[in-house]
């Protein structure tokens, strides 16, 4: 197989260890005087967007940043709980840049690009330095040094954290850097603005069309480069751990204007989420992977066991992860843990009223920590009650906010009874295809963070999303953007009066008018639910050719219904969340179709993409490296029509193997 | 604006002024209560008059009295300004507000309690301080304050007003004492208990002591 001639990943030549450092020393630069005349548009203000906008403004570029929320601080990066990885080796447990690189490639089931991932591992340490310098209050040990914990898919402790609110602390750090630039006037912030299209002129991206969500006004914004940092598209499944507003619109519009979509079917199903409680449910809530540091996952050995978890004796419990994967135990990667939970539930061992849940149990950890506290305080023969009290206190310090959240949502106290958990859609590894520079197939249009496809292959390891978002924004784009902008210094100010701007703006307005004029009978919300049901049933944790083919037909039908029967209340010149939602759902429907096509095309199982036709006898994912060791980059041709381009993945530094965590 | 006026007109600066003047007035209350409590010697006002004379004639005390008046004026004017600007910060009120769930009524009513105290202050100074100082200016002689007390507190309505004034003072102090420390930034887990205890004790003891004076005179315990 050879890489399609349309795709040039621009990976620097040379040994993997020196690719990035050599690149940095040889990439073209833009001098400070010219930077002042170059405008960069950043869409999205999560970890990637906020860090990129702040850093580029620090460097001297003129930046305009956009977010649909009421403040850049609300971006969904804020909800990341467990931590951020970095190859610091502070624990002296054998970590290194190579090992982080290796774990990430292996965790991604050998479907990520070596060059990008190695760069990610290289800059991971700088991220922690930068965040600490910006005042991020990471957890610390009594000696004042940084604390670490373990995450799935690794055997070292390299995860930095701030209780169960690491994403919040990192985002607020990046946000404060962004606000600093806003205060200095080097970043112009447009909150409550939604990007609705990109504008390409003579083959280069020259700006965006955005809608002011308060007034409904459609605006043109010109720039020499546009950075999409708009997050993932997990909400295509309706129920996911994403925020209600998380959407694919920006990436999808870019896709329809020429940016290829990479590996759209690679979706991460997170194993530890609070199970669905009823039809009314609007979103799912994650229970951090960090809980698997101390919690043990099990189901009853007996089918249809209805006893409460704490009344089932030890020898009647099946700790199935520890049984199946002794080397990694409860800390196997997410895709494996999710499938194992589904397997147990499908086989009839599920717990709770829906039978779609397994237990996550802290009783052992409480006892272990309780004894530890007793030892620490030189207490001999402590009572069982005291051990429990001390143990609970330690668990509370580590995971208190998560336990509180669980109690609030389910009405059960996880300090007393085991949590019930079930997998849920959490992250999308797929995204806009980008080269080593993070540029899409449209010159001048970049994509950072979860919105791009680049670093996680077919499965992302825990605590790596925060790492990638900040790596892209703080340490990659500031260098790589120079190679493009250095050729733009003679372009001059981008005029938004260009006919192309006027044309695209009109298309955007026409679409909004069409949406509001349909006045059918069904709300955007209901269409979203229906789409989610199709996607979860047929393109979810397990997929097969039959189901995917059906899904494609159903989604196409749904699209037609949407455009003839959607009911959007209100009008176009006011604050109208229904209208915003309708536009996003319309894009999700189109994306859903492409995801199913991609899943159908990829006749193998890898990472989060599990095709039932392709599994080992033990039910593990069965890759087909011979035929599918490539990135699928889809080019949009017309409605219902895409062309597949392949980027071959070459592994010079890692020996390809069947992924094993046994 | 100079840094000084800028500081004192900022939201925190205004609170700082309230706290400092408040604590100053609290210290005045101690002296005031201590000297007035001399009436409980029941010696025909001898001890009380002795100290009253000292307070009314000692040049240092008289100078400090100017500070006291200034303290009152700043505390009152600053308080009223805060009341106005705080009200302006919420032009549209809530239709339903369950403030009792998150705070005490008296902490939310410092403006109201303060205004009641201001009214009481006017009545109280009109009874004693103003006539006495006017007479001092005019004739150089002090009035017989002890006798004035005995006379004035024969009227049950006056006694009632004084008791109500003391109750207002109790609530005002109950929040104000602790609040002043918080405004000054003095909040520390080691000392909060102490501040709270002293604050509550002070708020009870001083107003109680004051209230006992008109009551005792009215009931003839002090004569």
């Amino acid at each position: 197989m050879a890489t399609s001639s349309n795709l040039d990943a621009k990976i620097p030549q040379g040994p993997i260890e020196t690719k990035w450092s050599k690149y940095k020393s040889s990439v073209a630069l833009v001098n400070p005087a010219n930077k002042r005349n170059l405008e960069i548009i950043v869409v999205g203000t999560g970890l990637a967007g906020a860090s990129a906008a702040a850093t580029l403004a620090e460097m001297g570029y003129k930046v305009k940043a956009f977010c649909f929320q009421d403040s850049p601080r609300r971006a969904h990066s804020i909800a990341a709980q467990g931590g951020i990885n970095a190859a610091k080796n502070y624990q002296n447990d054998g970590d290194s840049v190579y090992r982080l690189f290796y774990d990430t490639i292996k965790g991604g089931d050998y479907r990520a690009r070596e060059g990008n991932v190695h760069r990610l591992a290289e800059v991971s340490g700088n991220i922690i330095d930068q965040c600490v310098a910006a005042g991020v209050p990471f957890a610390r040990e009594y000696g004042g040094l940084l604390s670490n914990r373990s995450f799935g898919g690794t055997q070292v402790q390299r995860t930095f954290y701030a209780a169960g609110q690491t994403g919040q602390q990192l985002l607020l750090g990046a946000y404060s850097g962004l606000q600093r630039q806003v205060g200095m006037g080097t970043v112009k912030m447009y909150n409550r603005h939604e990007m609705l299209d990109v504008v390409n002129i003579d083959g280069k991206c020259r700006g965006i069309i955005a809608r002011n969500l308060i007034t409904g006004e459609v605006e043109r914004h010109g720039g020499h480069a546009v950075l999409l940092c708009t997050g993932g598209y997990g909400n295509v499944f309706y129920l996911s751990t994403n925020a209600m507003g998380s959407n694919v619109t920006a990436a999808w519009k870019a896709h329809k204007r020429g940016a290829y979509f990479g590996n759209p079917c690679f979706t991460q199903i997170h194993p530890t989420c609070i199970p669905v409680s009823g039809e009314h449910q609007s979103k799912l809530t994650l229970m951090s992977e960090s809980l698997r540091n101390d919690g043990r996952i099990w189901v009853p050995k007996k089918k249809n066991d209805t006893r409460p978890g704490n009344e089932i004796p030890e020898d009647e419990r099946d700790y199935y992860l520890e049984r199946r994967y002794p080397a990694f135990g409860n800390l196997v990667p997410r895709d494996i843990a999710s499938r194992a939970a589904k397997e147990r539930c499908d086989a009839g061992y599920g717990v709770g009223t829906s039978k779609l849940a397994v237990f996550l149990d802290f009783a052992a950890a409480v006892e272990r920590y309780g004894k530890g506290e007793a030892n620490k305080n030189n207490i001999v023969n402590p009572s069982k009650e005291d051990i429990t009290i001390w143990g609970k206190a330690v668990v509370k310090e580590k995971y208190g906010n998560l336990f509180d959240m669980y109690k609030q949502i389910t009405g059960e106290d996880p300090y007393e009874v085991p949590m019930r958990i079930y997998p849920a859609v959490h992250y999308t590894m797929g995204g806009l295809w980008v080269d080593y520079n993070l540029m899409t197939t449209v010159p001048g249009l970049y994509c950072l963070g979860e919105a791009n496809f680049s670093d996680h292959g077919a499965n992302r390891l825990g605590a790596s999303a925060l790492m990638q978002g900040l790596a892209d924004g703080y340490f990659v784009i500031p260098y790589t953007i120079g190679s493009y902008l250095s050729k733009e210094i003679g372009t001059g100010k981008i005029s938004t009066d260009h006919p192309e701007f006027i044309k695209v703006e009109k298309e955007v307005k026409d679409r909004i008018d069409t949406l509001i004029k349909i006045q059918g009978k069904t709300s955007p919300e209901l269409f979203h639910r229906r789409l989610g049901q199709i996607m979860w049933d047929k393109c979810g944790m397990a997929r097969n050719a039959q189901g995917l083919k059906e899904a494609i037909v159903e989604i196409r039908e749904l699209r037609k219904q949407f455009w003839s029967d959607v009911k959007v209340m209100g009008n176009t010149t006011e604050f109208n969340p229904e209208l915003d939602k309708a536009g996003r759902v319309a894009d999700f429907i189109e994306l859903g179709e492409l995801m199913c096509i991609d899943a159908l095309t990829r006749e193998e199982s890898c990472g989060g993409h599990f095709r039932e036709e392709h599994q080992t006898e033990e039910g593990e994912a069965l890759r087909d490296d011979e035929n599918f060791m490539f990135v699928s980059a889809w080019e949009h041709k017309a409605q219902e029509e895409w062309e597949l381009h392949k980027e071959e993945l070459i592994y010079d530094n890692i020996k390809i193997a069947q992924r094993s965590y046994k | 604006m100079s840094w000084f006026t800028q500081t004192l007109t900022s939201s925190i600066g205004k609170k700082l002024l309230m706290a400092l003047t408040g604590l100053f007035l609290i210290s005045f209350l101690v002296i005031h209560a201590a000297i007035n409590a001399m009436i409980f010697y029941n010696d025909g006002g001898e001890t009380f008059t002795h100290w009253g004379h000292f307070m009314g004639t000692n040049p240092i005390i008289r100078t400090l009295e100017i500070g006291l008046v200034a303290g009152f004026i700043i505390h009152i004017v600053d308080g009223l300004m805060l009341w106005k600007s705080n009200a302006a910060a919420r032009p549209v009120k809530y239709a339903v507000n369950k403030a009792e769930a998150n705070s005490t009524w008296y902490s939310r009513s410092m403006g109201l309690l303060g205004t009641l105290l201001l009214i009481f202050l006017v009545i109280h100074t009109a009874h004693f301080w103003i006539p006495n100082r006017s007479n001092q200016f005019a004739t150089g002689e002090e009035l017989n304050l002890y006798q004035m007390m005995l006379d004035i507190f024969q009227n049950p309505i006056v006694v009632l007003i004084y008791v109500l004034g003391c109750i207002s003072l109790f609530w005002h102090l109950l929040h104000g004492f602790k609040s002043a420390f918080q405004s000054l930034g003095l909040n520390h887990v080691k000392y909060n208990g102490l501040i709270s205890f002293v604050g509550t004790a002070f708020s009870i003891v001083i107003p109680l002591l004051f209230a006992l004076m008109p009551i005792s005179i009215y009931l003839g315990w002090v004569y």
Binding site: G135, R140, H280, S282, Q408 | A89, P91, Q182
Partner: protein, 255 residues
């Protein structure tokens, strides 16, 4: 669409935009489940309104897991409703009784104008942060993260302050619509960490000045803010801010 059978009466503030007068509308829901979140109950209401051709209620929300700080409802006279330490999105209908009438209003503050219905404009908070709520460290300037040990207690206290989600419940709860808990949380976080020392004075001066310019009220230490804060940010932070500010004013070279 839902399996519940609680009956709930709602009295919701409706207002088309910042230039118009608003008022309460009454609604009635018959299929509320105790497992629904408060916002999911509003989803049900909105579906019901759309079916009857009425414009749905606009309200701010995003993550629905209590961390983004976007949801902002004043429920039965309390920001985020009756529970302590909980945002609106994490409030569940099991906290109410069958047949209850619930009054829902937007945050009320001069500095938080209503945009529509229950949605308010909280840009003032962003401007306060832009005035000084940061450490001025450009990307790439940082030394090794472990080169500067920070006592665990300081790091923990800084984290407790930094847990603020910027929802504005403190302003909404305060009888003076004061933003001091929000502002003090950021000032505290950075004052507690060695990284924040270089700009300690100017940060306190500028953030407080911006807070005042936005039209928030002053603090009267009622404690309502901390009692209603969904992240239980402590009043100690306000005391610390007062110290920081007064200290900065007395010692900084800005005249």
């Amino acid at each position: 669409m839902s399996a519940g059978n609680m009956h709930i009466k709602l009295k919701v503030w409706r207002q088309s935009n910042s230039n118009t007068q608003g008022g309460f509308e009454n609604y009635s829901l018959d299929t509320v489940s105790p497992d629904m979140s408060f916002l999911e109950m509003f989803d049900v209401l909105n579906e019901q309104l759309i079916e009857t051709g009425t414009e749905p209620v606009a309200f701010d929300h995003d993550c629905r897991e209590g961390i983004c700080g976007m949801c902002s409802m004043y429920i039965n006279g309390q920001p985020h409703g009756p529970l302590r330490g909980v945002t609106t999105c994490q409030l569940h209908m099991r906290s109410f009784k069958d047949g209850d009438t619930i009054v829902v209003e937007p945050w009320r503050a001069e500095a938080f104008p209503v945009i529509k219905d229950l949605v308010v404009d909280r840009d003032a908070f962003d401007r306060v942060i832009a005035a000084g709520g940061f450490v001025s460290v450009n990307t790439g300037n940082a030394q090794d993260a472990n080169s500067l040990p920070i006592p665990k207690v300081a790091a923990d206290d800084a984290f407790a302050a930094a847990a603020c989600i910027g929802c504005g419940a403190c302003v909404a709860a305060c009888k003076n619509a004061s933003a001091m808990l929000f502002v003090s949380a950021k000032i505290s976080q950075l004052a507690l960490l060695p990284q924040g020392q270089a700009e300690r004075n100017i940060r306190a001066e500028k953030m407080v000045a911006q807070m005042d310019a936005e039209g928030f009220g002053a603090c009267t230490n009622t404690g309502a803010c901390a009692a209603e804060c969904p992240k239980e940010i402590s009043l100690e932070n306000i005391a610390r801010m007062n110290r920081e500010y007064i200290g900065a004013k007395l010692s900084s070279s800005a005249v």
